[in-house]
């Protein structure tokens, strides 16, 4: 397993101008996009069977759900930024692996459900992260919904539940014999501006929402560079509350638990704000021979 922290502001897809997206841009957010491009090139050199993504924008309150049909083809329109993201997608799903995860997680006491409605629309978080990491869309996905434990209980409960789900998913992957790339799809600090510049890609307007958010984000980046992922997860409830972080959905905790809380340095590919939120692209490569100091 290789793990990627892959934020999903639709702005980065918009800025890339892929043929699937209806909106057209003049660019923008290059620090993130170039970081994504480099990580995507690395993934091309790795032999793996599927991408397994945990997405905050498929929000479920009744357990954790998994996509359960082999293909989904439709259009995803971002409900918040429809002006920049109207993406025509055609994705394949590794249903066997999804079912295995659903089964193992269920056996471990987690409430689960397979999603088999063919009209279901894939969320823009899944699409943005997967497109930026694999623009060719030549790998099947497993998409996992985010159960909103932080809303219903607390960030501490979220941490426990997402950790348990991560361990269950790791067991399912191991039993399947497959090689996967794990994707935790979210920003770090997550306070948005509530206005938008007339030209969304006007980079003269882009900055972090406030300095407190930046300092917290950098604290996490430093810990990641030092390979202290156990510590990152331990302070996750505090970080999440202080920065309204998108880690509230449990993605990073899920991925770190699945990877056994890496004690080796993360590869840092880029950090940049998008409409005020803090976005980091990072990867955890368990193979010492291929692990790099990127930035």
């Amino acid at each position: 397993m290789l793990g990627c922290l892959a934020p999903h502001p639709p702005h980065v897809v918009y800025a890339e101008n892929p043929e699937q997206n209806e909106a057209f841009s003049e660019g923008g957010w290059e620090t993130l996009r170039w970081g994504y491009n480099r990580l995507a090139r690395k993934l091309k050199t790795i032999d793996y069977d599927a991408m397994v993504i945990f997405t905050p924008h498929w929000q479920t309150y009744i357990g954790t759900h998994f996509l359960g049909l082999p293909e989904f083809k439709s259009k995803s329109v971002d409900p918040v930024f429809p002006n920049i993201f109207r993406f025509n997608y055609d994705i394949s799903v590794d249903v066997d692996l999804a079912e295995k995860m659903c089964e193992v997680a269920g056996d471990s006491g987690i409430i689960t459900k397979m999603m088999r409605n063919p009209d279901f629309r894939i969320d823009y978080g899944t699409i943005t992260s997967c497109h930026m990491l694999n623009p060719e869309w030549d790998k099947p996905l497993v998409t996992i919904s985010s159960n909103r434990n932080a809303h219903y209980y607390s960030p501490e409960v979220m941490n426990e539940q997402a950790g348990a789900l991560g361990k269950a998913c790791a067991k399912a992957i191991e039993e399947s014999g497959k090689k996967v790339v794990l994707i935790s799809s979210h920003s770090l600090s997550h306070r948005h501006f509530v206005t938008e510049s007339p030209l969304p890609e006007d980079m003269s307007r882009e900055h972090i929402y406030n300095h407190s958010q930046y300092v917290w984000d950098m604290k996490l980046v430093d810990l990641m560079r030092e390979g202290k992922m156990r510590e990152v997860i331990d302070i996750m409830p505090e970080f999440t509350e202080q920065t309204i972080a998108e880690t509230e959905a449990g993605g990073l905790t899920w991925m770190m638990a699945a990877m056994g809380y890496p004690d080796y340095p993360a590869e840092i590919y880029g950090y940049q704000s998008v409409i005020g939120t803090g976005n980091l692209i990072a990867a955890w490569d368990p193979m010492e021979t291929t692990r790099e100091i990127v930035l």
């Binding site: 479920t60 329109v77 109207r86």
Partner: protein
């Protein structure tokens, strides 16, 4: 000066069960019947606009207002996808949407219309419009709920809606899509065994319904912060529907209230309520928080200097 012509208001839940599985439990069936009653009342009224405020349409860039003339899609709920799909095609009053946007801007709010093929209309709006206006006899408009907005912004948004209704001379039905208590069970349940998640949620819901039955909408608006703390899962910063509904309908307690149904929806409190303006009132009171006419943005506390 006379106010805008608001015929009545409807408060209804966002969950899809009354639309997709009304026969799964007696309670879901009763909610469906209550929607049917509202539908008939709307049909019998002289309404030429249904204005929907949906708590399941969150926005970030101010408030968004649906302005596609005929939005069409097949919607599936994130949690209840196994209940089936919800194909829809609505008729939207684009001129009103644009007037509402302009009115909101003139009161200092960030606001924009959205008109894109395939825009994901939320579960709550789809359920409400399909049940209340199934044949699109009356043009509708839908406005989002900004996830960061609090009282001032939401009240000013309601007053903006009121401005636009008055300016266009519409006869409007106001629809607020929201649960009462919104904590659902976190496991799958047999619909027959559905019940309100806790006794506390049930008790608060019934107190809110007493206020609705007495027509005390402005009193409910004033209680919003307390309601949020007591029975709302902390997904957003505040319980906003009563603020918006009261501001839109005129900030008073002069209504004939009808609680048509109150049932559990996977543990949450689902009520269908009608509020019709009347001359009677339980009396208006003096409240702690100031009224607000214009939104001036966040207060620049840090720029004001310290003691």
């Amino acid at each position: 000066m006379t106010g805008p012509d608001i015929l009545f208001g409807v408060y209804c839940p966002p969950h899809p069960q009354p639309l997709l599985s009304p026969d799964a439990s007696e309670g879901y069936g009763k909610l469906r019947e209550a929607y049917e009653t509202c539908r008939k009342r709307i049909e019998e009224s002289e309404a030429d606009l249904i204005l929907v405020y949906s708590t399941t349409w969150p926005s970030i860039i101010g408030h968004q207002i649906q302005a596609h003339p005929e939005p069409e899609w097949v919607h599936v709920d994130d949690d209840f996808h196994f209940l089936g799909s919800m194909p829809y095609k609505f008729s939207i009053d684009v001129e009103f949407a644009e007037a509402f946007r302009d009115a909101a801007k003139s009161r200092g709010l960030q606001s924009r219309t959205v008109s894109y093929d395939g825009f994901p209309i939320d579960t709550g709006s789809v359920v409400a419009l399909k049940l209340l206006n199934p044949d699109n006899r009356i043009p509708a408009c839908i406005v989002s709920s900004n996830m960061y907005a609090n009282r001032a912004e939401t009240i000013v948004l309601g007053k903006s809606a009121r401005d636009a209704i008055q300016k266009q001379g519409k006869k409007a039905v106001i629809v607020v899509v929201s649960s009462l208590s919104n904590r659902m069970f976190t496991e799958h349940i047999d619909p027959v065994e559905d019940r309100i998640h806790s006794a506390k949620d049930d008790e608060w819901n019934r107190k809110i319904l007493e206020f609705f039955a007495d027509g005390r909408l402005e009193d409910l608006s004033q209680l919003s912060r307390e309601i949020h703390g007591q029975i709302r899962v902390q997904k957003v910063v505040a319980y906003k529907p009563a603020w918006w509904m009261s501001a839109t309908m005129g900030q008073h307690n002069n209504y004939t209230g009808e609680v048509l149904s109150y049932e559990a929806l996977h543990g949450s409190g689902g009520a269908v309520v009608m509020l019709t303006p009347s001359s009677g009132s339980v009396g208006d009171k003096e409240f702690d928080e100031d009224d607000v006419e214009h939104y001036h943005g966040d207060r620049g506390v840090l720029d004001k200097g310290a003691l």
